[in-house]
């Protein structure tokens, strides 16, 4: 994480954060200030020399870079880097494995009517893995221009056109980057993390697995921009566009001050077995009250419920017929 040490000024036009290697702002396209170059005093015909052997270097199409024909060494050219980056900060596990196991038992015991009766006793815990899953977290200000049709102000047609411009501020919006967890699971887990607790080091149970970010920097930016558009659209529907029903919603966003962090978020992934069938359950790493997962359903109990409903219905029909 040495790149973090180098502080880069944000984009002058849109105030979005830039990375060291960025040649242009990824949001608005403004050129990042170039490193100072020595002014040329007198005209000269400069022969570009190879750093290793001193021969003249020419740009080579095959190498897609300047290459020395004599020693074959390739000169590095500054382009926009697109690395796969790893987490900048880790949120600590505040739920220990024992508590997570307890949370699972509570989840199985809570069950509800359709759960098999002996579930909590018969289920056997197969594995309990503490995992840090990757997510991007962003803050951004968005200037949203929109148009839409809605029922408000409609005359002869059911629809009337509307347009507007508004500003949204998004804070601490997480965009899951995990491949191991489903999007739904990520969305259910994300709101329950304590944002302020991010650390530079991993604090958690021994042997916790860190799921790596898989997409590159440009891929990450695309995911974040997609999320901004999606969220803007949702917020527009909640009271900004007049009316109750909408269609043809068009959104154009101009982002400013986009800040993205790469976080590792703690979760327990558990597997238990009940009557030879495996089930997967997630327990939140910072809030044992959040448990997601599947549990078996008792076929007998479902059948009994259906039967009971049928009996009641039949009874009602019979009573109606007697009348």
């Amino acid at each position: 994480m040495s790149a973090l040490a180098v502080k880069v000024e944000p984009c002058q036009r849109c105030d979005s954060a830039l990375e060291v290697e960025d040649l242009r702002c990824p949001v608005c396209g403004l050129t990042a200030p170039p490193p100072p170059r020595a002014a040329v005093e007198r005209a000269r015909a400069r022969v570009v020399r190879c750093d290793s052997c001193g021969a003249a270097v020419e740009y080579s199409v095959e190498a897609k870079a300047p290459r020395c024909d004599y020693c074959g060494s390739v000169t590095h050219v500054e382009t926009t880097a697109d690395p796969v980056e790893q987490a900048q900060a880790w949120l600590p596990f505040t739920v220990d494995p024992e508590a997570a196991r307890g949370a699972l038992m509570g989840f199985l015991g809570r069950g509800g009517f359709f759960r098999p009766s002996g579930l909590a006793q018969e289920a056997s815990l197969e594995s309990l893995r503490p995992v840090w899953w990757p997510a991007w977290m962003f803050d951004a200000g968005v200037d949203v221009s929109w148009t839409a049709d809605s029922n408000a102000g409609a005359r002869r047609s059911e629809w009337a056109p509307h347009a507007g411009r508004t500003r949204f501020d998004f804070e601490d919006i997480s965009v899951p980057a995990s491949r191991g967890l489903k999007v739904k699971e990520c969305e259910a887990l994300a709101p329950h993390y304590q944002r302020g607790s991010a650390r530079d080091t991993q604090v958690g149970p021994e042997g916790a697995h860190v799921e790596r970010f898989e997409s590159t920097r440009s891929g990450a930016r695309k995911s974040v921009l997609d999320a901004v558009e999606r969220l803007s659209l949702e917020r527009l529907k909640q009271g900004v566009i007049p009316g109750r029903i909408f269609r043809n919603i068009h959104v154009a966003v101009a982002l400013s001050s986009l800040r993205t962090r790469r976080l590792a978020l703690p979760v327990y992934v558990m597997a238990y077995r009940y009557r030879d069938k495996p089930y997967r359950v997630l327990v939140h790493g910072q809030d044992a009250g959040v448990v997601l997962g599947d549990a078996p359903i008792s076929a007998w109990r479902v059948a009994a419920a259906v039967l009971a409903v049928l009996v009641v219905l039949a009874g009602l029909l019979y009573a109606a017929g007697m009348h």
């Binding site: 015909a45 897609k64 500054e78």
Partner: protein, 319 residues
């Protein structure tokens, strides 16, 4: 008018004199055209990149896109392009073989801006209506109903704000903006920060259009793009009378060197060679193959003759 780098006036008429510089490799005198950024020593073949003191109004390149297409691939692209021209092009073009291919770094401006547009349009919202009409059925007049779709026009005014990035306009007199547009798109993800090593050994031009001309071109293109965006932005089932005015803020303009393969195709002794351009990154080919008026005339006459014969035959058969 053959090639972009050779359309210049003789050096004597240019304001700037030829530069005389020493070759850093063998010490020979190099004569340099002011419009070029690179040269090669005629004695020792050492490639050199010219560095000049800054000239007001002529910015230094900030970016360059390296060539990704080799000499032979570029030639093959042109050969295929020539073969697939229309039958009406002048004779010799479809069978011509591409001549010498030259790789040139053409200067262009990369422009980006924050555009705030105000627009006004008439939005059409459709609705269905049942109308009654009378018609004649089996000799009797009957009244029927039918559903018709009508459009209600509603005025709409609004604003659209957004960044317009990645606008490229030519900065070279040798390459017209329309030609550049025909070669676009370039993949700007491969953009590299300009360094002399990137153009060493290749021909590179200095910007020859003034900054003001290029900025005007870029502004026009940005406003056009906002217009295109607006056509997709309109709600309703249809729209008409869409007008917009864009206010451009926060302009940024940087010189970017673009890779272009240029070649002249000699297809006839008496005609000037045909200029063909190839995008040095994607291989897109652009050129204006001249149409032969004789071939078009011959085709028209042939079709007319065919029609006449057909008419004669049918009227002859009818007699």
């Amino acid at each position: 008018m053959a090639e972009p780098t050779q359309t210049r006036e003789p050096p004597s008429s240019l304001a700037e004199p030829l530069l005389h510089l020493g070759c850093q490799s063998c010490g020979a005198r190099l004569m340099l055209e002011p419009a070029l950024r690179t040269t090669r020593c005629p004695y020792c073949a050492a490639p050199a990149v010219v560095e000049r003191p800054p000239v007001p109004g002529v910015p230094e390149p900030v970016f360059a896109l390296g060539f990704a297409l080799t000499h032979t691939t570029a030639k093959a692209h042109v050969a295929r392009w020539l073969r697939t021209r229309s039958r009406f092009t002048r004779s010799g073009i479809r069978s011509a073989s591409p001549g010498e291919v030259k790789g040139v770094y053409v200067p262009a401006y990369l422009y980006s801006v924050l555009a705030q547009a105000r627009y006004r349009a008439s939005i059409g919202e459709n609705y269905q209506e049942t109308e009654t009409y009378t018609t004649t059925e089996n000799g009797k007049t009957v009244t029927r109903t039918r559903t018709v779709t009508r459009t209600e026009w509603r005025p709409l005014e609004g604003e659209l704000s957004g960044y317009v990035a990645d606008v490229l306009v030519t900065a070279s007199k040798g390459l017209e903006n329309a030609e550049l547009e025909a070669l676009e798109p370039f993949d700007l993800r491969a953009l590299a920060r300009y360094t002399p090593a990137l153009i060493s050994g290749w021909m590179a031009e200095e910007p020859s259009l003034t900054l003001e001309e290029c900025r005007a071109l870029a502004r026009r293109e940005a406003v056009d793009r906002v217009g295109v965006k607006l056509t997709r932005f309109m709600p309703g089932d249809s729209y008409r009378e869409l007008q917009h005015q864009a206010r451009l803020e926060w302009e940024a303009l940087d010189v970017c060197l673009l890779p272009v393969w240029v070649l002249a195709v000699k297809y006839a002794e008496d005609a000037p060679p045909l200029r063909v351009l190839v995008n040095g990154q994607t291989g897109a080919v652009h050129g204006k193959a001249p149409i032969s008026p004789w071939k078009v005339l011959a085709a028209v006459v042939f079709v007319l003759a065919l029609l006449a014969v057909g008419w004669l035959l049918t009227s002859g058969g009818g007699r």
